[in-house]
Amino acid sequence: MMSKTQRKWYPVEPAHAMLAGLLTLILLFSILPWLSPVVHAGTPTPNEVEAVARTLYCPLCVGERLDACEIPLCMDMKREIAEQLAEGKTPEEIRQYFVAQYGPIVLGEPPRKGFNWLAWVIPFVALIAAGGYVFLRIRQWSQAPPEAKEVVTVEEGKAQVDEALDEYAKQVERELSQWE
């Protein structure tokens, strides 16, 4: 057997030491997600509460985000977010809790079912239809032959003006004679 005094220390290659360190770091980062509830547990900061509140909407107001809402229910909801963060729940779990409590209205978008599908489909249909219409019109205009313009010579133009002036003078005379 080898005594303590006789133990030999072999120098470690710097490259091996760096590799070992790197592997340790990778291992630590890979288990971090499992540790996250423990990391988040404790009193959440106002910023953490706001970050979750920013992704939710007041169930009583029209389109008002929770972080900007000051009505009593919103204040209670923000307190609830803080409590749930302190319990170690993830923002997604908290969002799902509020959906279960108040319905999908808290997500600020109509649920994708029934009549609400129209709200999702119509903008795209309208966009495609409008795009198609504009495309067809442009193609129609670009393919249409240029309109033949009526060519009038100077003499013909003068004759037309004279004719119109004669007609006008006759009308004036007719109307004046009615007053005499």
Binding site: P59, P72, G103
Partner: protein
């Protein structure tokens, strides 16, 4: 001057199709909006629901046929609800051994605040949260408090959209118990 008649506007097949599409869209939209804004059920069968209670268990409206049901929607942040809370509890204590059931539906609230409210106002009749606001949607409520008075046959007989007083609640219950 040219005496040619003005060109008649042409009604093309595309115009007709676009017009029909717009008409169809408007019809669907109108039907949807009418369905959505049907209004509160002020008479006829009360929409059925199952309420999970704060104290555990659940209560289903259709199981309460043969009893007068006072269905009250409330929230802890609602001052008028607080104004009527003690009156509701007093009347419940008077009628709880008769064919009368009070149900409190906690609408758009947080559980902690709701439980505190029930404790502060000494509310003992069955109460539970309106999860997902599904019951509120069925009854088309617009706010709180709203109270639906349901007769022994399960029909809505009266909707009160303000705080109830002890006297009027007793009068409605007596009228329905006597039928």
């Amino acid at each position: 001057m040219s005496d040619q008649p003005a060109a008649q506007p042409r009604v093309t097949r595309t115009t007709i199709l676009v017009f029909l599409a717009v008409l169809l869209f408007m019809a669907i939209l109108t039907a949807g909006l009418l369905m959505r804004h049907k209004g509160r059920p002020e008479e006829g069968p009360a929409p059925d629901f199952t309420l999970q209670l704060f104290d555990g268990g659940s209560i289903r409206l259709s199981d309460l046929k043969g009893k007068v049901v006072i269905l009250n929607f409330w929230a802890s942040w609602c001052q008028p609800c607080k104004d009527e809370a003690r009156d509701l509890e007093r009347v419940w204590q008077m009628y709880k051994d008769k064919d009368v059931v009070f149900i409190g539906v906690n609408w758009s609230d947080t559980e902690a605040k709701a439980r505190e409210y029930l404790r502060v106002y000494g509310v003992t009749y069955p109460n539970g949260p309106d999860l997902g606001r599904r019951i509120g949607q069925k009854y088309r409520i617009r706010g709180v408090p709203e109270t639906f008075i349901i007769d022994k046959q399960g029909n809505v007989r009266k909707v009160i959209i303000r705080p109830m007083t002890e006297e009027e609640l007793i009068s409605y219950i007596e009228q329905l118990l006597g039928e």
